[in-house]
Every structure is written in C-alpha cells, then in structure tokens.
C-alpha cells in the first residue's frame, strides 16, 4: 500500500502494527491468550493533516494512539517517524544494526530461502487448502521482509553488495559523527538556556536600577563559550557532510545495478520509534504529544497549572529551572489556549471541565509538538463546551502547523474536524478515506452500518436509525476471516475464512472487504 500522493509529506508511517496485551492465565499451563487491541494496522499520517479515527468502544482506537507514542511496547510492526532526520537523534539501534550488518544478511538469506519454499508449496495447493496455509506463508513472508527492512532502511542498495565491510565502516563513521554532533548540540542547548536565564536576571535587575558587573562578565564569558561551541559544531557538521558525500559518491558508483536500485528504494530516513531506548524516546516526546479524554484524571491534582505546563518545558530544556521567562512563556501559552494568565497558580480542581481540557491542551502545545494525538479530547465535555474546545484545537492547528490524530466515537465531530478518516473495527482499520468520500460513499459494510446507526438532529432522518444486529465479538478470540462477518449482512463463506486485504479501491480510498459496496448510503 505504498502511497502515490508524493506531494504530501508523510509524518508517521505505521506498517503491520500489532499490539497484543497478554491476558492473565486462569490455569497453569493453559494457552496464553491475548487481547488483540491492534491487529495488523498499516497507515500513513501526512504532515499537516487531521486524521480522524473512529470506531466503537473497544475497537482499539485509543490503543493505536498510545502505541504511536510508544506508551506501550508494540508487539509487532513498524512505526516510522519522519518529523526529524535520523542523524539529528543518532539512536543507538542504528549502531547495533550496522555492526551486525553481515550477520544480519546471512540470517536474511536463510529466512528468504524458507519463505520461497513456503510460497512454492502454497502456490501448488488448490483454492481450499490455500486458505489454511495462508497464515503460515504470510508469517514467513513478513519475517523475512521485516528483517530485510531493518537493514535496507539504513543502508539501502548497499545491502546488495557482496562485500559489506567497507560500507559498514563508512556508515559507522557517519553514525559516530552524527552522534557526536548530537551530543554537542545538546550540551550547547544547556549552556544556551542558562545564558538566557542569566540574561533575564540581568534585565530584571536593571529594571530595578541595579547593575551587577560580575553577572555581566559571566554573561560575556557564556557568550564566548557559545560561539566557541558553535565553531566546533560547524566543524563537526562539515565532517558529517564530508562522510555523507563520500557515501553519496559510492552510491553513485553502484547506481544502475538492478539489485542495488531495487534495494535502494527501501532506504528510509525515518526513525523507527519501537527501537528507541527510553532516553531517546524521551527526547522525541517533545514532537509527539497526547491530549487525554478525561481532563480531570490526566492532571496531577497536587500541581498548579504553572507546574503542570512547566514540567514539560523543563524536561525538554526549554528553560532553566528558575528562569522568570518560563513564567511569561507559560502565561502566554495559557492565553493562547483561552485561559486567563492569572490562573497560573491555581490547582486543577479549581477549574471547570472545559478549562481543565484547555490546561491539558496548553500542556501539550507548550513544548511545540509536531504531532498531537487527541484521544477523545472532547467526548467527556458538556455539549456547549465541546464546540469551544473543537474551535480551539482548529485555531491552534492553523497557528502551529500541527498534525492531529483525532480519536473519537462521535461521527459528526470527526467529519467536521478531519481531512481523512480511518474506521476501526476490532483492532483493524477497515476503511480509510477522505472524510467527504467516506460519508458520501462508504465502501465497507461496517462504515455503512455505523452511519445508519447514529441518531441525528435532522428531523427528516428521525426514527430512521437502522441498528446493526449482534454484539461486538471479544478481541481475545476474534472471529476468523473478516472480523466483521458475524454481524455483516453481506457475509459469505470467503468472509468466514480469509482475512481481506487492505486495498486502495479508489484513489485515496482504502478498504478491507471482500464485498466492497458500490452504492451510496447518504445522499
């Protein structure tokens, strides 16, 4: 499902994501069961868009939002983040993969051989026998592909070379240069914030009519330190680009070889979030934020609004601890989010529900994120407050160029706010389309049923809801084949056996169904 719309930049790419939660065993030695909250999800999120995620309670939409942010350790699949170049973070998994490049390729060859054999066996079977064999074959294909991707994403076409050693050395050099640069920049940032804090103190003193020579001298010393660091950073940067051009030259040399070009296509500059260490992920959390459903329980009742918002700023080195400018910044953020700045010393319990949600939003947006998951951000609010918060989210999005993943069960809200909408059912995305397309022209029977089940405020549609019969199956033992077949009025034998692929049925309109609908539900 590679995307053709190349003009839009992908921010997050999720492929074959699985999140299974183990269920406590009731008998010793019994089969280990899992709640399959997310079961093979592939999804691209584009920069600057609002992607709506709808589904009934228990379909795994909240889990998906949290897995994206690595609040759970994902069971399987890849979550690639493109908001930063991999060099700017220099995560340690790159080094690990590079060092084991030769061993990895040997393993890959083994897996590929096994895969090919299984595929041959599968092709030889007839239609009915295939259905049962498919899972095993798919698994082998996936395993081989996953290992291949781990390496190809980093080195690209070079994986096709016979002798990996020189390439490996070169890439390791690049990694080390990037890591050193990253360290230098972090250190510089720390100096910078203490310099800023000092400057703030000097200014404050000057306003009171005091001038401290020692402080001014210290400031000059810090400035000198900073420019010295800048020089070193510039040198490290040029070193890095030298290594890069060396790699580029090498790449140029091999370009044109068939296998090389094929592998080169898999080269990926994204960061594989699942492989990051706690510390590395912590740095990225600045970019990836979460707004919670329950505005009360997600705020620490023992902290003031100022502390709640300031906590993230301190953790990500925006300010030094006792910097007065941080207070100004927090107040500004609060005002941006529709809170009066004098409330900065209040505690969460002194706010109404809508205001609390604004605090949650202010906390997330203060660290200037790129991507925000809004997990039922307005569902717990009163009707008249919901629209205030929706408006606020819309305004902030425009102002800060944010990307939203908007998780909700409310179809009217999601239609209003989203550019594209993904519909989830029992751990799977069953349909993904632009929001107009999805509502005008749903292709999946579940989407259709969902649209028909929602009561509207439209008098003409009064008493016309068509309930979807049956209960939502358990995510521990989901139905075989298409998970929706137990409630689907179009279900056939194929639905009961085979899992439908997630295909692009129309441009930009993806669906996972054996019987794609071709009629319009809502005119």
């Amino acid at each position: 499902m590679q995307n053709n719309q190349t003009e839009k930049k992908v921010l997050l790419r999720i492929s074959h994501l699985k999140q299974w939660f183990p269920v406590k065993k009731t008998t010793i030695g019994g089969e280990q069961l899992y709640v399959r909250a997310n079961d093979d999800i592939s999804l691209d999120i584009y920069e600057g868009e609002t992607l709506g995620l709808v589904g009934e309670s228990g379909c795994g939409k909240s889990t998906l939002g949290r897995v994206l942010l690595q609040l759970y350790h994902q069971t399987e699949g890849k979550t690639m983040y493109y908001g930063r170049s991999i060099d700017s973070l220099a995560p340690s998994y790159v080094e690990r993969t590079l060092k084991g490049l030769e061993r990895g390729r040997a393993k890959l060859r083994e897996l590929e051989a096994r895969r090919d054999q299984l595929v041959r066996e599968y092709e030889a079977l007839d239609e009915n026998a295939r259905l049962s064999k498919k899972a095993e074959k798919d698994k082998a294909v996936k395993e081989a592909h996953s290992l291949f991707l781990d390496m190809a994403q980093l080195v690209g076409g070079f994986l096709a070379l016979d002798d990996l050693k020189p390439v490996k050395e070169l890439f390791l050099q690049e990694y080390r240069a990037a890591a050193a640069l990253h360290k230098m920049k972090d250190a510089r940032a720390l100096v910078q914030i203490s310099r800023n804090a000092l400057e703030g103190r000097i200014e404050a003193a000057r306003e009171k009519g005091k001038n401290s020579a020692s402080q001014a001298a210290k400031l000059r010393k810090m400035d000198a330190d900073l420019s010295a660091r800048d020089g070193k950073i510039a040198a490290a940067e040029s070193e890095l680009s030298r290594i890069r051009s060396e790699i580029d030259a090498l790449r140029h040399k091999y370009a044109g070889q068939e296998k090389f070009d094929e592998y080169e296509r898999y080269r990926d500059t994204g960061i594989d979030l699942a492989k990051l260490r706690y510390k590395e992920m912590r740095q990225l959390r600045k970019d990836l934020q979460l707004i919670f459903q329950d505005p009360y329980s997600s705020l620490n009742p023992r902290m003031t609004v100022g502390q709640i918002i300031g906590e993230g700023l301190l953790a990500h080195n925006f300010f030094e601890k006792n910097d007065d400018r941080m207070m100004d910044y927090i107040m500004k953020t609060m005002e941006d989010c529709g809170l009066s700045s004098y409330m900065i010393h209040r505690y969460p319990h002194q706010f109404s529900g809508g205001q609390r949600q604004r605090i949650g939003i202010a906390r997330s947006l203060a660290v200037k994120p790129k991507f925000v998951v809004c997990d039922e951000a307005v569902s717990a609010l009163d009707v008249s407050i919901q629209s205030q918060v929706i408006n606020l989210l819309q305004d902030l999005k425009e102002k800060e160029h944010l990307t939203y993943l908007f998780i909700t069960h409310d179809l009217s809200v999601v239609k209003y706010i989203s550019d594209r909408i993904a519909v989830m059912y029992l751990g799977n995305v069953v349909e993904l389309a632009r929001s107009e397309d999805l509502f005008n022209h749903p292709l999946h029977p579940y989407t259709e049923a969902l649209l028909l089940a929602i009561p509207t405020t439209d008098l003409d549609h009064r008493k016309q809801i068509v309930p979807l019969e049956g209960d939502i199956p358990s995510p521990i033992k989901p139905p075989k084949g298409c998970k929706f077949h137990t409630r689907c009025k179009y279900a056939t034998d194929a639905c009961r056996e085979a899992v439908p692929d997630f295909i692009e049925a129309e441009p930009g309109h993806f669906v996972a169904c054996h019987h794609i609908l071709d009629h319009k539900v809502i005119e």
Partner: protein, 599 residues
C-alpha cells in the same frame, strides 16, 4: 490581600472554627482560590473537631511525658520502704488550724504527723492508716508526742505513755516498767519499735525485736539523756555529753568522732548519717556522705543549738532561733523557710516542722504523692512520666523501623513488579502469618534474659518493628500500583518527563500521605503491643518503668480492689494516648480523602 495577611487570616479562621465560631461564609470563589491540595488537607484536618481534640490531648500527653520526665528525672533504683502504697493526695503537711498557732510538740511519722497543743490536746494529719485513726482518749492532757512508721506514742501530763496505730509485733505491749514509771522524759517511736527515756536516765523499749539489732549495755542505764533512732539503729546522748551507738555492727554509723565525746549537747540520726551538736555550736556528721549530708551549711556551723534528723536530711535550730536544713531536698524537706525564735523542731522521714516561741507551727517537705506510690514506695506519677517516655520511645522507634522496612519493600514491590513483587509479597505474607504475641514472648524469653536493660529494651523495639511492617508494605504497594495507573502519570510519561521526576513528583506524593496516616495508627498499636508485652512480663522489666509494666501489679486482686491508684492512672494514660492517636489518624485519613472535600 498580601500573602502574610492571608496566612494570618486563615490562622485566625482556623482558631475560630476550632471553638465553633462560624462567621458568614466569605465569597465562595474567593475562598476556593487560595486552596492548594495540601492546604485543603490541613484545613480539613483542622476543622475536624474530633481530630483536633485528639491532637490537643496527644500533644498534652506527649509534652507532659517528655518535658516532665526531663524536669523530674526518675532514679529507677530508688525505693523507700517507709512510703509503700500511699494513696494519692497532698495532705501530709495540712496542719490542723487549731494547732497551727498553739503548738507544743510535733512528731513526724512516715506519712503522717502527730501534734499536741499547749492545752494538751492531740492532733494528727496526713495519710492515716485505719488503726492510726483510732486516737487515744481525748479527755487526757498530753505533753509530748512521737511518731514512727505506722504507730504513734503520746505522753500524758500524768507521765503515762499511750500508744496507738500499729498494734502488732508487740507494739501494744507496753512493758510494766514503763507503765509504772512516773518520770518519763522522752518517748520515741521508730520502725516497729518504741523507746522511752526516763528522767533517771533509764531506757526502755518494746516492739519488734528484729527491727533493730540493739543492745543496751547495763552501765548505760541511768546515764541516758536523749535517744535518737533511725531505721537500723539507735543512739543515745548521755548526761555527760557522750554519744553511744546502741548496736555493735561495724557500719559507718559507728565512726563516732572521739574528739566530740563529752561536749555533745544534742544528737540526731537519719538513715545515712548521724549528727551531733557540740557545746561550741559546731555540728559533726558521720556515717555515709549521701545527699551532701557532711556539708553542714555556713548558717548552721558554729551556731547550732539543737538538731533533728529526717530520713535523709538534718534540721538545725541556731542559737539565734532560726532554722537550717540540709541533705536530700527531693520534696523540699531541706529547704527550710526563714523562721525566727524557733524553740523546737522535728524532722522525720520527708518532712520537717518547727515551733517558735509563740507556738506557731510551720512545716515543710513532702506534702504527698499526686498519684500515690507503689509497693516499693516509688512515686507513681514520676514513674508514669518516665514510663510514658519509655513506652512512646519504644513505640516510635518500632514504628520507624517498621515504616522503613514497609516502605522499602512495598515500594520495590509496587514499582518494579514482576517476579520480585511476587517474591516480596509471599515473604510479606509469611511474616504476616507469624503469630505475633507467642513469637514475641518466646523471643523475649530466650534472648531477653541474656541481655542488659538497654539491650532488652532495644530488643522489644526491634521485635515490634520487625513484625509489624507487612500491612504497611502491602498498603504502599497497592498505592504505588494505583498511582502508576493514574492517567496523569501516563500523561507525564507521554510528556517525556525524566523517570526520576516521575517517581518523586507524581508517584511518591500519593504514597506519603497514606504512610503518614498508617504510621500514626501503627504508633497507637505499637504502644498497646508494648504495653501488653510488658504487662505480661515479657517486655521491659522492672525497675525501668513503662505504662505496660506499671500495670503489671494489677494482676493482683488486692491491688485492684484496694490500691486503685496503682493501675487506674497508667491505664488512663495509655488509653488516652491510644485513643487520641487514633483520632488523629482517622482525622488525617478523612482529611486526605478527596471525597471529604465535596461533602
């Protein structure tokens, strides 16, 4: 409103609320504005009258016990056979008003005093036993009195000796010689014996022959001028100014200085030393130099006219009629008031009395015991102060030990989870299932005997601490588990907060409040457990007092029936302390419960 003003007004408000004064509700929103969760907790606690009452009671007990025991230190080994089982009260110096300005003679007994006025009427006051209360014939006229441990003597103007009070051990059997005698000069009642000295210089005595091992040499008869006695022996002053001890034992009392023989005008004996006044007004003391008895004050040395002795102190009348006391001053018996024209004194046990020439009677020294005394004559009130300190210290240290263990084990278990949690929790359950009392008793019986006093006390603390942590550990674990699941912890994690901050800022505060409440309540139960152990005799043992082992005596039915003060006061103190701590704990629990804010 400035910050200071705010604080002040909230304090005022608190105090007013405490006394139930409610003012008009201020602007609701304004009030809400100044509430931090911590302040809300404090306010919730302070406005809870029951909890505040508990707090005040506990602070009073705590303060009394710790400050009191510092001001009145207890000598744990101090005992006094003359002061056993005295009921509470302060009437030992309550001189009857009729006697006060008309006194002729006075005598001090162990817990009471006897006096006779110039009209020959008998009086007695203080702690009187049943037998003492049966006073002799009021028709007669008396001229002299003497008091012993629990009996008294009086001399009529007809020269007859009367005895009352304790009538056992032959005390009631006045010898014929005495009955017949008409020239009795001095009567002296002591520890289960009575003496008489006649004008002719003869000495007679009766009573318990084993109380004092004395022998009166034949050649002494007819020469005796005055006789003094203490609990172990007696001395006589002969008419020619010599001092003779009436027993042959080689005690320090026997070191009568040779140089004074022949010049002595008055002698006195107490239970540590003997003093003699010579004709030049000098005071000579020999015996044991306790309580500074040998250091005769300047005011008395060289000016002494006569002397009398209490249990551990001496009182001298100087030649110019003033009074000087020295020696043990535990009850103020050596702090003589400034008197003039004193003609006679009597010091006995822990009191001293002086009569001046107008017949004014003044007394000083021990007035009585607040909570009475126990079977060894120890002051129950003093022992309660020291015992309370011991009990609370043991409780506090045990609680600290159990809190440290509980928090560490519960914290590790809750935060890291997994197999470690499993292991620690099983261990906790094992400790929990140990039967506490039997184990403590067995441990104390096996190990305790080999330990010193301090070691034994520490052992009790450790046993209590080591066996009482499991419930706290489970509580802390549960609290951490629930705190970890709080959405704001997830939020902080999603924000990219450092793990360290996460634990200290978001998880620990939830635990601390619970730990404080639990510790408070555990403290109360530790007090009780220590007391039960000591009550049964397996905790802290005598002579170190604790509230528990003070109750030990209540195992005796006589004590329960007749000597209520020996068990009522410690048990009241213990229950008050435990109840007030529990009230505080419950109050704190309510205060930190966020729901209580909404009610």
């Amino acid at each position: 409103m400035s910050k200071n003003e705010k604080r002040k007004s909230s304090l005022l408000l608190t105090i007013r609320r405490l006394f139930g004064i409610r003012e008009k509700e201020t602007d609701l929103l304004k009030e809400e504005q100044m509430q931090s969760p911590f302040r809300t907790m404090v306010r919730n606690f302070v406005t809870n009258k029951v909890a505040m009452f508990g707090m005040i009671v506990f602070l009073l007990i705590f303060g009394t016990v710790f400050i009191g025991s510092a001001i009145y230190p207890l000598d744990v080994n101090q005992q006094d056979t003359t002061q056993q089982n005295i009921s509470p009260g302060f009437n030992m110096l309550s001189i009857p008003s009729a006697l006060k300005d008309n006194a002729q003679d006075v005598a001090v007994g162990s817990t009471f005093a006897v006096g006779v006025d110039r009209d020959g009427k008998l009086y007695q006051w203080g702690k009187l036993t049943e037998k003492l209360q049966k006073m002799p014939d009021a028709d007669k006229t008396y001229v002299q009195v003497s008091a012993g441990l629990n009996h008294a003597l009086a001399l009529t103007d007809e020269g007859k000796v009367v005895t009352w009070g304790n009538d056992r051990l032959g005390l009631a059997n006045i010898p014929f010689e005495v009955k017949d005698a008409t020239d009795i000069k001095q009567i002296a009642a002591g520890y289960q014996v009575s003496f008489v000295v006649t004008e002719s210089g003869d000495v007679y005595y009766w009573g318990n022959p084993n109380a004092l091992t004395i022998s009166i040499p034949e050649e002494l008869q007819g020469t005796v001028d005055k006789l003094v006695l203490n609990l172990t022996t007696a001395f006589v002053l002969t008419k020619d100014g010599r001092v003779v001890m009436l027993s042959n034992s080689a005690t320090p009392f026997a070191n009568i200085p040779e140089e004074i023989q022949g010049t002595v005008v008055d002698i006195a004996a107490n239970d540590r030393a003997v003093a003699a006044v010579t004709s030049d007004g000098q005071v000579h003391v020999w015996g044991t130099n306790d309580y500074g008895l040998f250091e005769v004050p300047e005011a008395a040395q060289g000016k002494a006219a006569s002397i009398s002795g209490g249990r551990f102190h001496f009182t001298v009348i100087t030649q110019d009629g003033t009074v000087v006391s020295w020696g043990n001053d535990l009850y103020g018996q050596s702090s003589a008031p400034e008197l003039q024209n004193v003609v006679s004194t009597d010091s006995g046990y822990f009191q001293s009395y002086a009569i001046d020439e107008d017949g004014h009677l003044t007394g000083w020294g021990l007035k009585g015991y607040l909570f009475g005394t126990d079977q060894y004559g120890r002051d129950v009130a003093l022992r309660m102060l020291a015992g309370g300190r011991m009990t609370m210290t043991i409780g506090a240290i045990a609680v600290i030990i159990s809190t440290i263990i509980g928090v560490i084990i519960g914290g590790i278990s809750g935060y890291y989870g997994g197999w470690l949690d499993n292991l620690l929790m099983r261990f906790t359950e094992i400790v929990m299932s140990l039967p506490f009392m039997p184990l403590a008793i067995v441990l104390s019986a096996i190990v305790g005997n080999r330990l010193s006093e301090v070691g034994r006390i520490s052992m009790i603390m450790v046993i209590l601490g080591l066996l009482s942590w499991p419930s706290l550990a489970r509580l802390v674990r549960a609290q951490i588990l629930s705190a970890r699941e709080q959405e704001y912890v997830t939020a902080a994690k999603a924000m990219g907060i450092r793990e360290f901050t996460l634990i200290f800022r978001h998880i620990l505060p939830n635990v601390i409040t619970v730990v404080i409440v639990n510790t408070t309540l555990a403290f109360a139960s530790c007090l009780l457990t220590e007391s039960s152990l000591s009550f049964l005799g397996f905790g802290v043992v005598e002579p170190s007092p604790t509230w528990g082992n003070m109750l030990n005596s209540a195992q005796n039915s006589d004590v329960i029936a007749d000597m209520w003060w020996r068990w009522v006061f410690p048990s009241i103190a213990l229950s008050l302390a435990v109840v007030s701590i529990n009230l505080i704990g419950d109050g704190m629990r309510d205060a930190i419960d966020p729901k209580s804010n909404e009610r």
